[in-house]
Symmetry: D2
Subunit: 366 residues, 4 copies
């Protein structure tokens, strides 16, 4: 374990940056879901490098093959295998990394934990691993949409210190995709693109913040006490490379408020119980309350720099490492579909768990 996620809708990813390929197995997918490989490819294309002028110029086609679990355009309820062969193999570009540890990368910890590592392109610690998550997430998003009209939308609210104003509506996918930086506020998006280009020119990098919102979620998702919805969501988000923080609803700012300001008063919304404000972020007691789910994730600046950095080698000797070649000055835009995917995986899993425990049996009518 460690490479699997979920309980009832469970994915297992495999594969390294270089070598055969990257893949995912999805176990527990409901049967008879209409599904085409194009739907998966659509999300993979959002994730892959080389999409725009602000991402790494690496060309990876990342073409998905569905090798099991589908029959005549529908899922069969058996494991769905998805395979994305690797291409663009340039091991020589990584020769220096074999013996030197890149700062703030996983080189040192992998080497020490396992006593061996595939250093080419970061091996298993490469963000290419998230291909499997995005492929599985495409399926999870389709289930949410088809079965409950539930939409998951992530977008960038901050790059470096450039922050967009508060959003007064649930943004459409088109609004998000309108700019290469995936910020739905056009004026801010433009500034962000400039900043990222500037960083690329300096061989430097920046991080940022992604916000994710989910609407039309039913009440009842999440299982106290350890598998609270926000707990599983926090784990999902912190499992994404380069993340440093997670907050839901009012988050860290909420800890600066008084209870009388912070509490979400219940009101009657057209015959349904709702809340006047949403500092809870859509979850109370670990369970979705029917309001919009709202959370944010902090991403650190990319560790790879096109600069000379001090470091040590495998023998502990101090040395220097010169980053070269292709580099992604800000990975946050490409992380947007990864955040959506992980969120959708958590939600489908918890929806199935909720139905299993609370909606399977009707004892009263007996």
């Amino acid at each position: 374990m460690g490479n699997s996620f979920g309980t009832l809708f469970r994915i297992s990813t495999w594969g390294e940056s270089h070598g055969g390929g990257i893949g995912v197995v999805i176990d527990g997918c409901p049967p008879r879901l209409p599904l085409s490989v194009e739907e998966i490819q659509f999300e993979l294309d959002r994730r892959r490098p080389g999409q725009s002028e602000i991402t790494t110029p690496r060309k990876e086609s990342d073409t998905a093959e569905m090798v099991s679990g589908i029959y005549e355009g529908q899922t069969t309820g058996t494991p769905i295998g998805i395979y994305v062969p690797n291409g663009d193999h340039r091991p020589s570009a990584y020769a220096e990394m074999k013996d030197k540890f890149r700062p703030s990368h996983a080189d040192f910890t992998y080497q020490t934990k396992f006593g061996i590592r595939n250093h080419e392109g970061g091996g298993r610690s490469s963000a290419r691993e998230t291909i499997g998550r995005v492929a599985a997430g495409a399926i999870a998003k389709k289930i949410l949409k088809l079965a409950g009209d539930i939409e998951v939308r992530a977008y960038i609210t901050r790059v470096h210190d450039i922050e967009m104003p508060a959003l007064d509506h649930f943004p459409s996918l088109e609004e998000v995709e309108a700019s290469p930086v995936r910020c739905p506020h056009p004026a801010t998006a433009e500034l962000m693109v400039e900043r990222i280009k500037a960083m690329r020119n300096e061989g430097d990098s920046v991080g940022g913040v992604i916000e994710c919102r989910v609407r039309n979620l039913p009440v009842g998702l999440g299982v106290p006490v350890f598998d609270r919805l926000e707990a599983d969501m926090a784990k999902a988000m912190l499992s994404i490379p380069a993340t440093k923080g997670f907050e839901i609803g009012s988050g860290f700012d909420g800890s600066r408020m008084q209870g009388s300001e912070h509490n979400d008063i219940f009101i009657n919304k057209d015959g349904k119980v709702g809340t006047a404000t949403n500092r809870s972020g859509g979850v109370q007691g670990g369970i979705s309350n029917g309001e919009e789910l709202v959370f944010r994730i902090a991403f650190k600046p990319t560790a790879t720099l096109i600069q000379k950095q001090a470091t040590v080698d495998k023998d502990g000797k101090e040395t220097e490492l010169m980053g070269r070649g292709r580099h992604d000055p800000c990975v946050v835009p490409r992380a947007v579909p990864i955040v959506e995917s992980m969120a959708a995986l958590v939600l489908v899993d918890h929806w199935m768990r909720h139905k299993a425990q609370c909606q399977s049996f009707d004892f009263e009518s007996k």
Copy 2:
């Protein structure tokens, strides 16, 4: 599931605020660990209400009984059952809560998810549930200390908007426990105590931030890609009632930095590989790197107020609810041992997982 946590060192908690009692079963504890019930009681006493002038005046003795898994002062490797009977039963105090939903509590979501709820004292959503975690955490902390001299220390860095200055050393337990608010900076602690008392007088409440640090951790804890150490830690922390956020190392602030500022340069520290700074927070690529583990958790202000609040009842009718009786204006000081416990549980579990996969077999010598 949902009420269990961990894989190899696995706890399952049970019990409601009122009724028989609260308990925990610990499965997978290593055998031959010297253990006394007093060690568990010590931590429970740190958690229970009524310890000081700033917590709820509720008197709960919370006396632990170890009902299995121990023989002649040592663990046997079989499940450790710990049972804390409930006392202080005052159901009449909760009559109003039967039909009205307390704002920002779990009343509405539990009722809607399960179609039934034990409303007395919050039932399962009561913070009394954390008794089981703290009892199990006492055992986990003992294992860390005894087997690796590993120390887990949590303390408050902020209450409401009162923040202590950055700490230049790993604080001792005595420093933390010196003030009832568990802030190791005495001058700040005093201000925090005043603020909490002021809130109590107004029937209002405040939240805050807890920081947790762990020292002497070996390199290698954490399993990529989903069970990264910080991912499991984030889940552990967000499973604690009233939490709204988690960040590790540089956290949200780190997302405002450039890569050239943020990267932790590797250096040789007395023959060992270390880092010059610790923005990574002790984890790289999801695996502990031997530096101090450092993370922070945001707590919202207590939802229970001694004020009149608008709300709705079970039929969706708008009404008012008057909080009365005993109330805890700031739960954060009592959450300190809970944070330590959850952290210790994650670390023991990952240590065992690391040893199982990476240190069990020596193929080379064959």
Copy 3:
């Protein structure tokens, strides 16, 4: 893990023969199930020793307390804690067992695996541990009955070499309970009782076979490929102390047949697909097919004898051990409610899993 069973309807047992008590936590029970402690006690009374002249004369009252998870006579969906305090503590009776290993018991393996053991009454390896299973099984059986009129019936078909003729109907609980040996064929039951009494007089013991049948099971329970219904059932049964074998449907005899004799021809039974014979035992491809589930379990003779036996002590020195005191010459009758309980646990769990995956979503109508 190791002391938990099930995925969605999950039980964790704890406790030793001597010491505080025995208990179980049930996590994932559907809410709003009407449940009284008497229903649990009824099954515990079937399991406990001292019920009849052919079991051990040990008097254990085994009184269950439900300490959580129930509110006003219904389950709440939160963990159900059940606690059975131990009584009848006679450590002196076990002094010899402290240093000598009883043949075909767990003394040697526990001591070697854990480096420590509670030798009193067998500690955790005592059959008292099954109290928790039977308590949980009572709840599982109630769910099956209430939600689907599904009945689980176990009974003895053989003791030593005394075998009852094939049964031509699904026996009632009354038929099974009519004799202390729980064989629904009265003439055979009488012979079995005589044999067991004879063994007791010799200080010897015998084993036997239990058959279990389940009727009214829906089609669809069981998840290929590893969690086939018969695979999980086999695990459940082999986890019961003293079991040596499991077979389903035609079992070992089926391996002596030709395919043309063995195949179960499909027929139309009153508009439903059924099979003319049931050599499959109610499962095909790992999934229940709507026919009666039929399986059998082999139990070895009780290892405890009131005879002198050769053995070794903790230092490996050869010695002798004299069994004394109270002894159960045939545990198989008391294992009948344990078999039913484990079967019911597997079935409820798989029913919930089936509903979660295959009956939660209706994509076609969208």
Copy 4:
């Protein structure tokens, strides 16, 4: 879940008989295990059809590709992906199966459970799925051999009613592989081959019994109470297609003995504690005791016949089905490597679990 097996050494299989291919992901494999694809291919070649005159003449090359988790000839500790593309696609051969349910196959239950099925070659219920198990089992067997000189050997003891005499030694792989039927007693093997050929000529089939023995196992594998070694082994074996029964040690015959005959007396064997007999089959109290592990599995006759059989179609209408084409009159010989693989997977997993819990920490020396 359902398609994964194991806890620490965990495999997930995917793939159908027809379509892209068959594969397995192995998560948790210890790092630095020397491993070549040839070692995996060796076991796959033992499993595949067309090896000899008594198996199906289907030619499947079953060529394995290792697509991740290996670097310079050693495992890296990250997931090992193995992929075996399908070939020999003849969907027309299966046209009749689309609407008619083959007797004693999984057609009806899959169709009813999932509401859809890939009928070509049995889809997911095809024995081709076991390719993934055998590939993973090859790795598990290598770990056992390299780390502990532990050997797992399965062989046929009975085909139909032809049974070999009791074996007085642990047979070598050569002895087992000497005959196409994998019975290490040459005279019996010859009779078995004749019987299978006779069945093939009649278009009929037979089953049989496989015995599996493991030597050099350390004391301590297995976790009471649910994850006993024999319980997990029973699940592993009953998860293999066509199995109907499992027994360990004395098995069903043991239930005919008296305790005084059945008990395994402890003796001192060259300074180690051992038993004079092995009716326990190498497990006591759910834990390996250092003696040989011995268990047996019953296989039913192959359900596919080259005969006309009565059945029903998808609408429940009674009809007939004529088996045609290629058919395997006895699958038991090809199941031998599958049994070994599943056994090895259970053992590696439990060895890692044992080391994690019982051998990770040394509290005494502190």
